[in-house]
Amino acid sequence: MKKAGDKVQPLSLQEIGERNEPTDDQVWQLRLYVAGQTPRSLTAFANLKKICEEHLAGRYNIEVVDLVKHPQLAAGDQILAIPTLVRKLPQPLRKIVGDLRDTERALVGLQLRPATPEK
């Protein structure tokens, strides 16, 4: 909270549209943090898969990290909430917390929202 802004600008919808130029060739690096095979984790993964298939078909890469198995990885991406989806690429880094059941919000979070008409 103290150093807000030096890495990531708070974004308005308009800004998201401007920034998020359609870059078809870029591969999206996504990482989903879960803790065990809980129903919520499974829901999150399913929702993510669906979104990616719809919006990023062929150019996405999902890595699922189970913190129960690798607890030391939690610190790296500053994970508190489970499930958390981290967009490693493209920059900037984004985090979406929750099971992604609200697709609209998930899209905004991933900055895919303006990309919707393109498909």
């Binding site: 999150a44 607890p71 030391q72 985090k95 979406i96 929750g98 998930a106």
Partner: protein, 582 residues
């Protein structure tokens, strides 16, 4: 989660405690924070929450062999390390020894979006991993309320916090959770709702431009605890709480007597001086020698090899040493031998509580046998009269408990009743010496008397108090028909008395001589009379013998006559018959 921490904790008390190792805090909490349970530390910004929590961990790791985890939500590990390095703690070293882990949790609101359900399992996993890494028995969450700023769904957050505190309890770690003070509530987000075993409130208050830190135990389940506000200090040794109000009248008493450094004053005090561990107040008007007397007490104590603390609110160390040299006291030598410590500060520099706290701390560190506070009246400037009064009572009790002899000076200003102290502590002191001026014949002299001294037959006499280059001296004052005389008046009176004494002596000698003469004259007369008597006696004897011989001659003559007349010789009756007939 292979190790279960807290299982080897000592269970020797009914409610197990995790000692904080913080001076004073363990005292008022009856042994520390509740072991295996969370403790909430709340306070406004800058109140010292983080430091208290950090010291709890560090002391645990270093003194009680209980490793700890510091989960920081505000400051990064390097920042924290740097912050406490100034207090003499090396976190890097502790981290290397696997005694302490600092885990910085960054929550960047702007890069997080929320959609749908989630929980804080990630936090739990991180915490569990850290706890397991060092086998932590102590955990600090500083300041967990930052989660509220980072995550929107308060419903989830609250449920998760409740689960977290439950989880901490289940793991048996002694946790300290810090929280920001809220408006009209202990914490901004009502954490006290979840952490209810022990709640500590830190306060940083500024009254009359003087700031004081205070600590209060709002609640401590299953423990009798002090409920007052206790002042605390943050200094180069870290955190220290001063349980200044937890005092009773159960202090031990000593029969040992200690010298005041002025032999004549000892004489006035039943011949042996003060009782050890008592409180001595010397009050008097300006310039009557209170500080000089205090310096003597110091000097005497140091000569006995005892440590002395001198709190001065008016003079600096250098000034005191220089001034006392003028009356022949070398205080510097004691200071150099570390028997004497001066602490000079303006009374207004801190609040009263702070003064008390500092005095406590220094007394505990230095372990003196004698403490001088010069003058106590200055403390009123640091607070109001009533506060100063209670503070002094606490201070006196504290010193008495430690068997420290306290020597307090008090300035009586001219306008006030003389036998009165500004802070009305005269009733709780054991010995009260009073110094006053006596102004007479164009000069001002000092006088001292013992107003009271508990437990000893003290003198009721007024003594003249002289400051010489060899120190303080007490002299008898002249008390006579002309009143109390001191100084030159006393000297001239003494001279007059001396002259009168010489006169009296001469008179006696004269009388003695006269008596001798008289005796000699009488004896001469007696001798003369005796001689006269002897002569008379001799004469009397001669005349008697003469008479006898004359009688004899007459008788012979008569016999011869009768023989010649051839009278009848009547034997035996011849004489009277013959005389009758003739």
């Amino acid at each position: 989660m292979s190790k279960t921490s807290g299982k080897n904790s000592p269970q020797n008390r009914s409610l197990p405690k995790a000692p904080t190792g913080i001076q004073g805090l363990d005292e008022i909490t009856g042994g520390g924070f509740p072991r295996g349970r969370p403790t909430l530390v709340c306070g406004s910004a800058g109140a010292g929450k983080t430091l208290l929590a950090m010291e709890f961990l560090i002391r645990g790791a270093t003194e009680y062999n209980e490793p700890g985890v510091f989960m920081a939500f505000e400051e990064t590990a390097p920042e924290l390390t740097q912050n406490v390095r100034s207090l003499g703690f090396d976190l890097d070293e502790l981290a290397e020894q696997k005694k302490l882990i600092i885990d910085y949790v960054r929550i960047e609101r702007s890069e997080i979006d929320e959609t749908g359900d989630y929980d804080l399992e990630g936090l739990f996993i991180r915490l569990a991993a850290a706890i397991d890494a060092v086998g932590a028995q102590r955990v600090v969450l500083d300041t967990i309320e930052n989660l509220f700023a980072g995550l929107q769904n308060e419903g989830i957050l609250r449920a998760e916090l409740r689960r977290l505190f439950r989880w901490l309890k289940d793991r048996g770690v002694s946790a300290v959770i810090t929280a920001e003070r809220g408006e009209g509530a202990l914490t901004r987000h009502g954490l006290e709702e979840y952490v209810s075993d022990c709640v500590i409130l830190l306060d940083h208050r500024v009254t009359d431009q003087v700031s004081t830190r205070r600590l209060r135990i709002v609640k401590y389940r299953g423990t009798a605890h002090g409920t007052n506000e206790y002042p605390f200090l943050i200094d180069e040794d870290g955190f220290s709480v001063l349980p200044v109000t937890s005092l009773g009248l159960q202090h031990e008493v000593s029969n040992e007597r200690i010298s005041s450094g002025v032999p004549r004053l000892d004489t006035m005090l039943g011949g042996e001086g003060f009782f050890r561990g008592t409180t001595i107040l010397v009050s008097g008007t300006a310039g009557t020698g209170k500080t000089s007397l205090a310096a003597h007490v110091v000097d005497a104590a140091c000569r006995r090899g005892e440590r002395c603390l001198y709190f001065s609110f008016e003079e600096s160390q250098g000034q005191l040493i220089r001034n006392m040299r003028s009356i022949g006291l070398n205080l510097e030598q004691w200071s150099k031998k570390n028997l004497l410590q001066f602490h000079s500060s303006r009374a207004t520099f801190y609040g009263l509580e702070m003064h008390l706290a500092i005095i406590h701390k220094i007394v505990q560190e230095f372990q003196p046998r004698v403490v001088i506070i010069d003058p106590i009246g200055s403390l009123i400037q640091a607070g109001n009269r009533r506060d100063a009064h209670t503070m002094l009572i606490r201070l006196i009790d504290f010193l008495k408990q430690r068997q420290v002899t306290a020597f307090l000076t008090n300035l009586t200003s001219g306008g006030e009743a003389l036998e009165k102290t500004d802070v009305e502590i005269s009733s709780i002191v054991d010995t009260w010496l009073f110094m006053r001026d006596i102004e007479l014949d164009g000069e001002r002299n000092r006088a001292l008397y013992v107003l009271k001294s508990r437990g000893m037959a003290h003198s009721n006499q007024l003594r003249e108090f002289l400051l010489t280059e060899r120190g303080v001296d007490l002299l008898n004052v002249y008390v006579g028909p002309e009143g109390v005389l001191t100084g030159s008046s006393r000297l001239s009176q003494e001279a007059r008395e001396e002259a009168a004494a010489v006169d009296r002596r001469q008179e006696v000698e004269r009388k003695e001589r006269e008596r001798t003469r008289k005796r000699e004259a009488l004896e001469a007369r007696i001798a003369a009379l005796r001689k006269e008597f002897e002569v008379e006696e001799e004469e009397a004897a001669t005349s008697v013998s003469r008479d006898v011989s004359r009688e004899k001659v007459i008788a012979e003559n008569r016999a011869a006559m009768s023989r010649s007349r051839q009278a009848d010789m009547v034997k035996g009756s011849a004489l009277p018959k013959g005389r009758r007939s003739s």
